[in-house]
């Protein structure tokens, strides 16, 4: 089904989705042809960026589709009728995509030719258990915190200091420096 293929390509490449959103047009399908989606250009560009996603910006594999509900266009904007080549209204389910955070599958709802909702259907962890897209802690590399070490700090949080341990602590140095 054509629309299914279109949505498959959306899922496979969030960057395309975002570009498509912001431009309001032109989603490239997996078979190389392209299609105009009459996405309302007035839609705030940021709504398509799913910034609350699963912090996958480093892997670039398009898994940011995980953020639920963040792509709902504002209502009341001038939506033109579906273009001749536009998809039929309805909800379309993408294929499950394997990511380093687990499997992701989303559904996209299209009304009047615009994407009105993106819903995460599946996100599983390594054990196959279903998890919700959330505030969960994910592994990061030490190199990702490295640059923050050199920033100037005024207090240090650590496991409770004993008074003795304090004497050799960074906090003690900061206190003596009076910063």
């Amino acid at each position: 089904m054509r629309t299914r293929a279109i949505l498959g390509s959306i899922l496979a490449s969030t960057s395309v989705l975002i570009v498509g959103y912001q431009a309001g047009v032109s989603v490239t399908m997996s078979d190389g042809t392209s299609l105009s989606l009459p996405v309302d250009a007035a839609t705030n560009g940021t709504t398509g960026s799913t910034s609350g996603g699963t912090s996958t910006s480093t892997d670039g594999s398009g898994t940011e589709t995980g953020s639920t509900g963040s792509s709902t266009p504002s209502t009341g904007t001038s939506t033109e009728g579906p273009a001749a080549s536009g998809p039929t209204d309805g909800t379309y389910t993408g294929s499950s995509v394997s990511t380093r955070f687990g499997n992701v599958q989303v559904a996209v709802t299209i009304a009047a030719g615009s994407i009105t909702d993106v819903t995460a259907l599946q996100l599983t962890d390594d054990d196959g258990r279903s998890i919700q897209i959330s505030n969960r802690a994910a592994p990061i590399l030490r190199s990702e915190v490295l640059s923050s070490q050199s920033a100037r700090v005024s207090n240090v949080s650590g496991a409770t200091y004993t008074t003795d341990a304090y004497l050799t602590s960074l906090q003690s140095a900061l206190d003596q420096a009076g910063v």
Binding site: I131, A151, V153, N155, S157, G158, A159, Q171, S172
Partner: protein, 259 residues
Amino acid sequence: MRRAFSTMGTMASIALPDAWASEITELQRIFRAIDERYSLYLPDSELSMIASGRTLLADASATLLASYARALEWRSATGGNFSPHRPDGTIDLNGIVKAEAIEQAGEYLTAVGCPQWSVNVGGDILVSPTGGATPATASAAPLVPRVMRAGIAEPLSPTELLCSLKLRHPRRAIATSGSAQRGDHIWRAGSTGPVSFIQVSVVANDIVTADVLATTIVAGGEEVLDEVTDRWDVDVITVDRSGALRTTPGLLRALSPTA
């Protein structure tokens, strides 16, 4: 200005505008009063009297009972991973009293109108809604909210920083728990196995939540980490036994060195 003093078996470090320096005395009094009520090291503290059976819990002060009730609520909320009881049944409010003391110090400073401050007691930190203390002396000067950066100590080498992050209203509180320095105040619920995390820092909107949940995650391990981040509005960074890190998305954003 910044003043450090010894209290509650640890060190407090307070930063205030110079014009508010005289408030340090009252803050010391607040901490001393709390210590004298709850310390199990002072044989005649109210809590020691209860622990030794010289005072019945039913006869305890309303203040102590309120802290105990709050700790019990946290015990329920965390499925027992946080507990105000030692394994032998002794009531030990150490896990909540320090955070309550920081909270009270903050309430006091807010009540007297101190514009910008930070209170760090034993590595648990609360900053004013307007950010960390400014060195400015004029208390009436217009205030620009300051983003304060707090460091997090490297658990295996506490004289080094693991990272630093922004503390900004409403995320004003950070607490760190771990087995690195004083693991003995964390009792593992129903398990004697080794902790999976050697250090856990929780950033929250209030210091009691941050402190209790940091303790909870150390005690409960990985499974509890997920539960906590699902249920509470907090940011977390954990260090496990191999030194590997995990962070919630919000904490990762707060690490950014730019203001």
